[in-house]
Symmetry: C2
Subunit: 348 residues, 2 copies
Amino acid sequence: MASARPMVNHRGPEFRRLVLDVTARLKWFFRTENDVLTLTASGTGGLEAAVVNTLSPGDRVLAVSVGVFGDRFAAIARAYGADVVKLDFPWGKAADPDQIAARLAADPNIRTVLVTHNETSTGVTNDLTAISKIVKERDRLLLVDAVSSLGALPLPVDQLGCDVVVTGSQKSWMIPPGLAMISISRAGWEACARATMPRFYFDLASAKRSLEKGETPFTPAVSLFFALEESLRMMEEEGREAIAERHRRVGAQARDGVRDLGLALLADERVASNTVTAVKAPDGIETRELLRILREEHGVVLAGGQGRLADKIFRIGHLGWVTEADIDAALSALRVVLARMITATDNR
Amino acid sequence: MASARPMVNHRGPEFRRLVLDVTARLKWFFRTENDVLTLTASGTGGLEAAVVNTLSPGDRVLAVSVGVFGDRFAAIARAYGADVVKLDFPWGKAADPDQIAARLAADPNIRTVLVTHNETSTGVTNDLTAISKIVKERDRLLLVDAVSSLGALPLPVDQLGCDVVVTGSQKSWMIPPGLAMISISRAGWEACARATMPRFYFDLASAKRSLEKGETPFTPAVSLFFALEESLRMMEEEGREAIAERHRRVGAQARDGVRDLGLALLADERVASNTVTAVKAPDGIETRELLRILREEHGVVLAGGQGRLADKIFRIGHLGWVTEADIDAALSALRVVLARMITATDNR
């Protein structure tokens, strides 16, 4: 059929219904009355939107980092000219809320705090309840990278007072990558009105104006919106508490299983993520080779370490549609392959 | 299966093969030896990448506009602080290469030219051969919005010397929106090395470094990469000349058919686009109502006018997988609905 549309006309009634429905369902999972906007980009694009819409060049921000993604959030702010004060914690540890409080007390010029809720590179979940309390009591703006947490780990956006919260479609939402979903509070919009960092594609005010007409400013990734609607329906059927509970179960199961194999976890149990488990690579085992055998011979895809953790850890993902049986299968394969590799090493 | 991957691990061998294959096939359609990079964003994100990677705040640029998308390209450059000199032509007309030449001759400070190859809002294709000759003879950088042309209309990137060329997945490439593909020349990279506009998500140098490892800097829209590979295979089967020839045929057919209905075209025949036909709304006919009836009763989706052309025109798209039979069906439905609406108007 002749048409000027990509698949559905994204300026037509079909897409209008779709984007409004998806937005309402997302708000329920965000537990927020704030605006929720969906951008065609991966999670990093969403983090960029959080930064450029709320900050001006020269603004001092506290960037709390416990790994690769915390560093990335800081790097985005720096690329756009923010005066970034970095607060780093050892990889595998969580951010210490008291140290955040001390920094904010010491420097009233810090008006904005960037924090990663769940750090995928190290398998650590920060205590966002404690952090948000400190940041909001001191009336600073709180920008949260919740790319790999929201939907699977408890994150009541309004209750915690998070101003901007970013997540990505390929994580808890279980659809392919390509959409970033962002909530923004009233204080966030006030910051937005003052912020002078340049923005066009990621301009949230323009996204909000379009959404009021049931549209997006630019052509949206329509197929992913359809997938997201379906996925949100499935997630509602399971229930948001049940999803969080399932992630708690499989997270504990993965950590127990790893310890049973005699392996060490990177993260402290108290702060270990229920969406990804980082395992220290055992001595004498080539991580890359371990992952290759698991993938090619067992169909189990684990991830290596990122940045300075390359070859030092491997990671078991358990975010999204993952059950106890999946974790069992991954652990069994790991047991078989490790035994073989250790024997081979011993016989060398 | 437990995994830290979205669908395929985008840092693994499967995606590596995919992104390298897609890139090689795209180069063939771009007819270029330049780098081609694929970003997870819609076409406008690609245009933003073209601007922020090659320009610095304060740089004077000539933004040639013949419609909504030319205006958008200019607006992006302005948002990032470029000193934009706008060269506007009446909507429905093409850009006059002589006027571009005169502007460049008059102002040696203009180092970069922005131009839309095919203006979807008015159904006009600019004479990129003449324009690129003028721009490159005068040694200026040429940034081309080829979102709705490349792949369907002839655009030999290297032969014309286009420095940065942007297209989008939902256009000639016939897959859902969400990927922007960009070629960048040696002169483009030189500009990139000097350019100081802030960039992170759309940083092309970082995309190039990642592509050399068969990766993307951030999580890519994996499902769209798979779809693109399949679509490129189909397009290769038809052949790039055959695709252009088919678009010439259906373009002419659409225009002839519209004239046969006694309707007027917005664009001059000489510059009319072979991917979209803009039709002046006949007197006394409510465009919105016409499009609604066509959509709901005939399953024919035409587009309305954008910006100041809203309600003044409607548009028949014929980009991508469109055949003569599709155009016939659209024209027949249009004939039936128009006759009915005109009778109703006469009887009022």
